[in-house]
Symmetry: C2
Amino acid sequence: MVTDEMGAVRTPGRPRSEKAEKAIIDATVEMIAEGSGVSELSIEAIAARAGVGKTTIYRRWANKEELVVDAMATLKAPIPEPGGVSARDDLVSFLAAILKETGHPRHRCIMNLAMSESERFPHLLERFREIAIQPRQAALRSLLRRGAQTGELRADIDVEVAMATLNGAMVYFTKWRDKDEVLSPDLPERIVDQVLTGLRP
Amino acid sequence: MVTDEMGAVRTPGRPRSEKAEKAIIDATVEMIAEGSGVSELSIEAIAARAGVGKTTIYRRWANKEELVVDAMATLKAPIPEPGGVSARDDLVSFLAAILKETGHPRHRCIMNLAMSESERFPHLLERFREIAIQPRQAALRSLLRRGAQTGELRADIDVEVAMATLNGAMVYFTKWRDKDEVLSPDLPERIVDQVLTGLRP
DNA sequence: AAATTTCGATACGGTGTAGTTTCGCAACGC
DNA sequence: GCGTTGCGAAACTACACCGTATCGAAATTT
């Protein structure tokens, strides 16, 4: 018996292939990114795409949902950087980062699942909150709090509502715009400036 | 050969049953409202639920997507009433109407489809825009324009961004709140007031 | 070398659905 | 009454996928 560098016991026999594991998860992520819902995802298709036997999948995951959950867990939330000069600039950068992500298939993957299937797959929803929603909410919240402290924003702002308007506006544009309507790249600025300034004269 | 009151030619033989047609569409809507995605909907299940032979469905619709499209077409956009005293009140009423709808299964049906499957089913997306998005956008847009005309809002507001923040904020709360977090009923007011006032001191 | 475990491949029985066809009956115009 | 068409029910063929089992080869410990 042998222990690896982590101190874990290594059992005899051929070790599990990390390459296969990665290929399986990659295939899963790709297929979701291409628009497959969880229910359309078949183990057979994943195995074929990953160039792997079905056995290799079943040996590692008990069911589809767990595989998808693990696949999502590999998609790290890209850290939105807080380090700007003003709250306004930080907010613009934050929204710009989100806008940029939506073009990336990996995060379209997260989005698709979040929007559609989270209701039917509770574990998935849980993991999704953890990976995608909460980090961003936390970042945005601290941005707003800091702005309120420095006096750039009112001290009594409703942070949750502010988060909803900013974040919601981006989602609205990226998900519900007309099919071939182009997103103007200054969207983040327009949104932030309007939210900061308000609509009243 | 006979013509009905619309002047259309009535072919010989037994006429198609409107009752069956309604039952089919109702069953479809119900199942979607309960969380079925388009791909999970089976013609067989619809037929069984509607108390109808599969033949009766296939005779009318060539495929599932067309059936779903027709089913959605029966869900009228509930007219958001414009007749308030101030732009602020109108906006609050508008958001309140949307909030109320989200509790209603029929509109959860629309929402679910819109969020999830619209990318994969272009006809569906098209119809969804027509039924759900465009009427609301139009109503909200005219509300904002009117507010700008009366001077209650600035004359130079970015209407599209304003729509996105208001509408997006509601969607954000209704879709992405924590599972058992309750929606405070004054949400529409909080959103509208913040969007109108802005975040700056 | 022997034992053990995983690998990809393939095959298997079982289930669910698609879409078609057939049946006997019902509803309509002629 | 007759011809036509729609009706619900059932049977049918054809897949796709599930989850398991089996295979010979490969990788690793003992």
